[in-house]
Amino acid sequence: MASVIYRIVSKQPSGYCINSSLLRSSSSLKCWQRCVTTFRTEISDPSEHSFDHEGQFYTIPKKDVQKIFMLNWMSPHEKNMNKMFQEFSILIRRPALEVMDILKRLNYNYPLTRFLLYGEMNAGKKFTMTHIMHYCRSQNWVLLTVPWANEWNCKRLDVSFNHHKESLFDLPVHSKILLEDFLLKNMSLIKEFTTSTTYEFSEHEASEQGIPLTDLISFGITRMKFANDVVGALLKELQILANNDKIKLLVTIRGINSFWRKTGQKKEKVQEIHAQQLTLVNQFMELLQSDTKNAVAMCSTESWVNDVTDRKSYLPTELMGKEGVDFLEPFLPIEVPKYGNAELQSVMDYYIDRRWIQAPEAKTLDGRAQIKFLSGHNPYQLYRVCVPL
């Protein structure tokens, strides 16, 4: 009954919600559990998701999970969840559906479209990104992911000087990881493509024209010294390919507001390095400002990037600063809100189904109301509240 009253404003038909609410208000819990699991869908292909399915869970088939998500994208917390729940399922939410809707209708002859996801901490930006990535993968796009951009800003990394430009700094280890990740994800798609120009990495080493891309990447992996340059080369190649209508490119960067912060490092332990002085950052910024067709960039501003004291703000203007906003304009801002009441109910249904909530008082309506109160509609807080239950 309660869910009918507190439904969030939405366009979709009310059939789903009334159905579930009637079931919930029926006398016995068992009857309800046996009847319908309205928090799930069977459809695992994201392209078929529509606004009808909002508020429901769908599972990603196992073969995709390992390749795409488990390696670099998911944090250990989420890997644990995967192990625990024995499956990988995501809640279908409005922002993801909106983005997918736009992607379906987009005219790809126009230059790069930039989405900017923003929202409060732990509101679910990462999972919307996974949803969109799954969709793009099913459409056979090439995925280029930067799982956590603030890694480049950490203290005490191996930093070496760039050969070509004196003022910039290389990050060999991180570039290597990027290349490996890219290779694993997009192996099947890049097999045929070859480089278009020669790239000179140093006086003696150079890659010639016409080598398959995979070779270029593996060269970067083996020779860490030149990994950063290989990344630059790769990005240029991808731009050329996209312009020629051969691939569709999806660039995901998590935590883009780290591009305009100081890193924690010091040049020769004296001078501070700003993120703008890293080659990787510059390369990605070039990519984002370029006019490639058939490409979409999905960025997110995270308040995790800031220090512990500074995490209250979550609006992009505050996090990125004027420079960032000027750089990224024009972009499509997409807000990832906290859970609405219907979503909360379905998430709790899911937890009960997966035996994550075990206390019998927690399964009653009163218990759920209390959990809702305590979590404050925040997805991660909801998870933490249900931990001891």
């Binding site: 309660a2 507190y6 009163d366 109301a369 209390q370 109160f373 305590l374 509609h377 933490r384 509240v385």
Partner: protein, 405 residues
């Protein structure tokens, strides 16, 4: 012989004394010993003839002491009554009332005015009462002329207490026999009855001590009270007859579930908004945090703290503090809460909100719930504050490192 007599008597005394020790606990009244002790010759045949005389002499000595005490007591009482009457007349004169028309209430009022006292214990404040209210009037002899005590348990030194206990025990034995009889007839067991101990609460320690002191001038100890409670609960759990119920009801009072703890008009006050919604604002305090909480009735469950939702508090414990009064009164989704908090830290602020919330919820909640809230302590201001640092110690409790030299 004469020299050995003292030793013989001593061993005799010890023997008797030890017996007495076992029978009455750990006190051997000297009176009993004096009865058996005879420093003069014992072994002679004359003793049988002379003993009653001596006993009478000894008794009369005790009686003499008793009589003396009784006379003192009487004179004391007379003196006190005279003083009381005098003082009463003076008071009446001062107050301008005729002494015959002056009641105890007048006296109390006057004393409260003349000798104001801020002591918490009302019994230790200055009082002006007739001595019969304070001291026992009759100094009764608990034994007759021959010295035989009236009460059959006089030698236990707490005759009334032991009388009650033995009566209860005797009743228990009777009831047990009856049950055995009933059981042997083969009747099916009776349905469960409501035991008296569930409805009644036995006398707590204070009333117990008072009961014996005032009525019988006996000083009872704590373990006696414990034994009393155990025995009464045991007895009350058996199948009782009417007489047993009447006997037990003397020592108990019905449980306090029907007593209203707070029933003033102030609690029920609330204001009405411009939009016609009832609301009530109350302040809550905890450890230098002040919270102003407004509760709107007929609401939806909106919570607002300083402009933010419950994310204002980051820790789960603080959030649960705010949740608790709402859950207890089961008004989670029926009430709107708006709060403004200042001062203190996270926990202090959450405690302050809790205090204000529970005080503000009172008019919208039933009387039973009000009792529950006050009994649970949600309405009291938590008076725990940080302890001050002391000189000679590092912090409030931490000491400096101990050195041998």
């Amino acid at each position: 012989m004469a020299a050995s007599i003292p030793t013989a008597t001593r061993s005799f005394i010890k023997f008797i004394g030890s017996e007495l020790w076992f029978s009455t606990g750990y006190r051997t009244p000297s009176k009993c010993l004096t009865r058996t002790l005879s420093t003069q010759s014992v072994a002679s045949t004359d003793s049988e003839v002379t003993r009653p005389k001596r006993r009478a002499e000894k008794l009369s000595a005790a009686m003499k002491a008793f009589l003396k005490r009784a006379k003192e007591h009487e004179s004391k009482i007379n003196k006190y009554t005279e003083e009381y009457e005098l003082g009463r007349k003076h008071l009446a004169n001062m107050m301008g009332i005729h002494p015959d028309e002056m009641t105890q209430e007048h006296i109390n009022e006057a004393i409260r005015y003349l000798l104001p006292s801020g002591l918490f214990d009302k019994g230790s404040r200055p009082q002006f009462k007739h001595p019969k209210d304070i001291l026992p009037l009759n100094f009764d002899f608990p034994f007759d002329k021959a010295g035989r005590p009236y009460h059959y348990q006089y030698y236990t030194l707490l005759p009334n207490y032991h009388c009650i206990m033995s009566e209860a025990a005797w009743r228990m034995e009777c009831l047990r026999e009856e049950e055995v009889r009933i059981g042997s007839t083969g009747a099916p067991p009776q349905e469960e009855m409501k035991h008296l101990s569930e409805e009644y609460e036995w006398m707590d320690l204070r009333t117990f001590l008072n009961y014996f002191k005032s009525n019988h001038s006996e000083v009872v100890q704590v373990n006696e009270h414990n034994r009393f409670v155990i025995l009464m609960t045991k007895l009350s759990k058996m199948r009782l007859r009417e007489q047993d119920v009447a006997f037990l009801k003397q020592f108990g009072s019905p449980k306090t579930s029907e007593i209203n703890v707070m029933d003033t008009e102030e609690i029920k006050k609330f204001y009405v908004n411009e939009q016609g919604r009832k609301f009530r604002t109350k302040n809550g305090y905890r450890k230098s945090a002040i919270a102003q909480v407004t509760v709107y009735a007929e609401g939806e469950g909106i919570l607002e703290i300083n402009g933010k939702g419950i994310e204002y508090f980051e820790s789960q414990y603080a959030r649960e503090q705010v949740l608790f009064p709402l859950v207890l009164t089961s008004s989670l989704n029926k009430v709107d809460v708006h709060a403004r908090v200042e001062g203190g830290g996270e926990m202090g602020q959450s405690g302050a909100i809790r205090h204000g919330l529970s005080n503000a919820l009172l008019p919208f909640v039933s009387q039973q719930m009000v009792n529950k809230l006050s009994l649970s302590g949600l309405l009291d201001r938590d008076s725990r504050v940080k302890e001050r640092n002391k000189p000679g110690q590092k912090k409030a409790r931490k000491q400096f490192q101990w050195r041998a030299r």
